[in-house]
Amino acid sequence: MNYNWNWGVLFEEEYLGWLISGVGWTFSVALVAWVLALAVGILVGVGRTLPSRPVALLCTTYVEIFRNVPLLVQLFLWYFVLPEIVPSDMGRWMKRDMPNPEYVTAVVGLGLYTASRVAEQVRAGINAVGGGLTSAAYANGLSTAQTYRYVLLPISFRLIVPPMTSEFLTIFKNSSLALTIGLLELTAQSQQIAEYTFQGFEAFTAATVIYVVIALCATVIAQILERHTKIPGFVGKA
């Protein structure tokens, strides 16, 4: 194998700056999209379990649409297609005057996509709580809203902490797709470095190491969360 090793290139002023900038964008996109995903996802997930048929159907449609189209296609739809199909004033604003269109699109696209996955977790969690407890809450005189607020949601949130932290990590990985619409996040920057310096091994290793560190942190956070939210003696019907 014919290769010149040069790990020092990673620490050169310019390239190090690229890496740091990439990490910054990755974190920024992932975290803001995560907030959006939680907000929308919890609503949609709860909506799927509500007794009201039209609401449940609407939420199910949301989930099916966002789940069955690849994230890449979704990003393209938001970035390229949306400005074309909205009223021309709005479209022009989106294409020219909106600050940081790649970032906003990435956040919206990634957030709404992840929301559909969060919705599924929330739904699974609520269903795992079990009809018996729901009956008991109703029999106790609690209304539907109260039952969700005091019984179903608190228990289901504790049950879904493990899969949710997995989703949290996934959103970091999926943020890499933003490079396809021009956002220079971490993976994009590592590829740039590889192209400029021909030191692909070093560049990609740097990105890999950073992602692994992020994953490790997510795992640690997961374990801390799980310990704090454990219900003594309750195993759950997952």
Binding site: A137, Y138, A139, N140, G141, L142
Partner: protein
């Protein structure tokens, strides 16, 4: 107080209750028994609207359970229900289990609710455990807490759906004792159970169901001493031979 008139219920095409009529007057203790699949649990769940009925009428005091637009939440605040699998809220302590309904549904203050909770838990002998979580208690203890949780709402009647069926044999009595005491204090009770000893001790009437029909509905001693139907005789002979 509880008036059930000609109710029929289907799950899809399967008819689970057929033309059932009975009533429970204030202070009465009625035991509902019968083989598996007879519809007795379903019947009792219809009383507080947990299960809808397709035909017939159920009234509890001045609430018409089967009418559209009835505020079922209000009704359920007035009737207590105890389940086979206890169904305590696992993420809340015993104290919180008892206070939730009192505070959020009845609007009692925290101190009021706490005082009531402590009094009720003490009555069933579990005061030292009041800040524990359900997962830390035995089945018998959990069920006694569940009964107290329903009593905390000051119900006008109590429904029991096979309260001891999920318990290990040595814990059945501690729960039955609580129920006997409740009956002796004059609580209106409708109890689905296999515990015939309990029935003989405190029940005023026994309803025997089979395959969705009410076969017999008679005074306790009359039922045990002289069952009229063959199915009831058959059932009793199997149960009482333990």
């Amino acid at each position: 107080m509880i008036d059930i008139q000609n109710i029929s219920k289907w799950y899809g095409t399967f008819q689970v209750l057929t033309d059932c009529t009975t009533s429970v007057t204030k202070g009465e203790v009625v035991v509902v028994c019968g083989p598996s699949g007879s519809g007795k649990s379903t019947l009792i769940k219809c009383v507080n609207g947990l299960e809808p009925v397709q035909q017939g009428k159920i009234t509890v005091e001045d609430f018409e359970v089967t009418a559209r637009g009835t505020n079922l939440t209000k009704l359920r605040a007035r009737i207590g229900m105890v389940f086979q699998h206890f169904e305590l809220y696992p993420h809340m302590s015993v104290r919180e289990n008892l206070c939730l309904g009192q505070q959020k549904v009845l609007g009692r203050s925290r101190d009021e609710a706490n005082a009531k909770a402590e009094a009720l838990i003490d009555r069933v002998g579990l005061l030292p455990h009041i800040d524990k979580f359900p997962g830390q208690l035995s089945g018998g203890q959990q069920q006694r807490v569940a009964i107290s949780r329903s009593l905390a709402m000051d119900p006008i009647a109590m429904l029991f759906d096979e309260p001891t069926s999920a318990l290990d044999p040595e814990m059945i009595n501690e729960v039955l004792d609580v129920m006997v005491e409740l009956a002796r204090e004059g609580m209106t009770m409708m109890v689905v159970t296999h515990e015939m000893g309990f029935a003989r001790k405190v029940a005023d009437r026994v309803i025997f169901m089979d395959e969705g029909h009410i076969i017999e509905d008679r005074q306790t001693e009359a039922f045990f001493g002289n069952p009229e139907s063959d199915r009831a005789k058959d059932f009793l002979s199997k149960i009482l031979n333990h």
